[in-house]
């Protein structure tokens, strides 16, 4: 029953936030504000504009980084998927990047590119690109053989097979890869803010922590998690709408 499902979702939110509230009142720790206190700080920051200016700064490297990763990532992924030579040459790089904790490279990037927008964008890129490339190349390689055969049987040129069969067939997985890339990009953006120089939301978090304004700190964290989750959910819904009836799913994490 749709009503029951919605009711339970609301109930579980109430339980979690309620537990938060109670834990804050006990208090579990002097550094743990109640849910209501955090929400109060959130509305205050939204009201007086600090939240929005902060996001304007934080989202810059995220948007730029994700855009670059998407374009480059899909292009490289297509190339790797279609060409055996490129697959041999580039796949190992991205496979290693996928399994490795790329965050370790951040000090190096800071050293090389300073503490400005460039290094933040680069952090987002190195986090987002591997999963996009790997999903794209895998989707291309896993195009059902019988569909490609059908294309050849009906006299399609190589280019027509790529454009009209392989790429449409690969689209659901490519899109899923983009979604995972955005998710990784968020992590990169926040890491960049917390580690390189705090600007935007990262600044709110570090500053409020330093002056022991815990409600604001928790509010900022809550807001960014909320934003990430909402945005990724929108992407997932779009994916369902765009690709209804197609096989969906992602190849790697």
């Amino acid at each position: 029953m749709p009503n029951r499902s919605l009711f339970l979702k609301i109930l579980s939110a109430v339980i979690l936030f309620g537990a938060w509230e109670i834990a804050g009142r006990i208090p579990v720790s002097y550094a743990f504000p109640t849910f209501l206190e955090a929400m109060g700080a959130l509305f205050r920051m939204a009201g007086d504009g600090t939240l929005w200016t902060a996001y304007a700064e934080t989202l810059q490297p995220l948007v730029v980084g994700v855009a670059i990763s998407a374009v480059l990532g899909i292009a490289i992924g297509l190339w790797v998927g279609l060409s055996n030579v490129f697959d041999w040459l580039f796949s190992p790089i991205f496979i290693v990047m996928q399994a490795a904790p790329l965050a370790a490279l951040i000090p190096l990037l800071v050293l090389a590119y300073g503490i400005g927008l460039t290094s933040k964008v680069l952090v987002v890129c190195i986090m987002a690109m591997p999963v996009i490339v790997l999903n794209t190349s895998s989707a291309v390689r896993n195009t059902p053989e019988s569909m490609k055969e059908m294309g050849r049987a009906f006299l399609a040129s190589e280019l027509a097979i790529i454009l009209k069969i392989i790429i449409p067939a690969a689209s659901p997985v490519i899109f899923a890869g983009l979604r995972l890339g955005v998710s990784a990009g968020f992590i990169g953006a926040i890491l960049a803010e917390l580690k390189i120089t705090p600007t935007g939301v990262g600044d709110i978090i570090t500053y409020s922590r330093s002056i022991a304004d815990y409600p604001s700190m928790y509010a900022a964290i809550f807001s960014i998690i909320l934003l990430a989750v909402l945005f990724l959910n929108v992407l997932e819904k779009t994916e369902t709408v765009l690709f209804k009836g197609n096989q969906r799913g992602y190849v790697s994490d």
Partner: protein, 250 residues
């Protein structure tokens, strides 16, 4: 890829990249990329040092503890969610939220609540790994073939027997898949934890080397770390294949 009719092994292009690294390094193109040979020499020198061993021990400890908790908490929770509809409907939204949320944002919270030490790092590691483990354990339980359940009942299996002899094995491939991805995430978690929380373990080494512009050292330790992470990932994949030989292609 085949060359002159010989199939080249999977990761062999890394040799080409290694050569490129060496050439670029020897040419002195950029200060940040010393020759690969120098990096490897430094690697062997560094591995024996006390500083490195300490870093490795600290990281290994945090990683193992984090993974231990992620598995021992995650799998039972996932199984329970798979079997109990009410619990599932209450918890699943949150598992999905935390699965896709940028967990890095939670690290400052952990820092203020649990201090700047090993405890926070372990919790970070656990948090990074646990959600996918829960999700896959749940999926593994849910996809158990209905006929197997009915078969167990019809042959009068006790709940314990049914679980240990049938359900566990039926769900195992999926569970192991989740553990593999969870462990890879945990590796990232432990490093992110070290970079943000307290400067111990490998995080400390990276800070130290980059602050002192010891590029060869930096790359050496990075290679060790990446190699370790990659080996763990491959080993888990191998385990998964061995145990799950009976799993249908997912």
């Amino acid at each position: 890829m085949t060359v002159f009719g010989y199939r080249l092994p999977g990761m062999s292009s890394l040799i080409v990249w290694g050569l490129l690294w060496e050439i670029v390094g020897q040419m002195g193109l950029t200060f940040f990329i010393p020759p690969l040979s120098e990096v490897i020499a430094t690697l062997f020198a560094v591995i024996g040092t006390a500083a490195f061993q300490k870093a490795l021990a600290e990281t290994a400890y945090a990683f193992s503890a984090g993974v231990f908790f992620a598995i021992t908490i995650g799998i039972p929770v996932g199984i329970l969610m798979g079997k109990n509809r009410l619990l599932d409907e209450l918890l699943l939204p949150w598992v999905n939220v935390f699965l896709s949320a940028p967990l890095t944002a939670l690290v400052p919270v952990l820092m203020v609540l649990f201090g700047f030490g090993m405890k926070s790092i372990v919790i970070t590691t656990t948090l990074f790994g646990i959600w996918i483990i829960i999700l896959n354990a749940r999926a593994g339980v849910k996809q158990i073939n209905r006929s197997l359940v009915e078969m167990a009942h019809s042959f009068g299996a006790s709940p314990w027997n049914a679980f240990t002899k049938i359900y566990l094995w039926a769900a195992l491939p999926e569970i192991l898949g989740g553990v593999r991805i969870g462990i890879i995430r945990a590796v990232k978690g432990v490093i992110i934890g070290q970079l943000l929380i307290s400067i111990v373990g490998f995080g400390a080494l990276f800070e130290l080397y980059s602050a002192n512009f010891l590029m060869a050292h930096f790359w050496a330790v990075l290679i060790v770390l990446f190699a370790l992470a990659f080996t763990i990932a491959e080993f888990l994949a191998y385990l998964e294949r061995r145990v799950a030989y009976y799993a249908a292609k997912r």
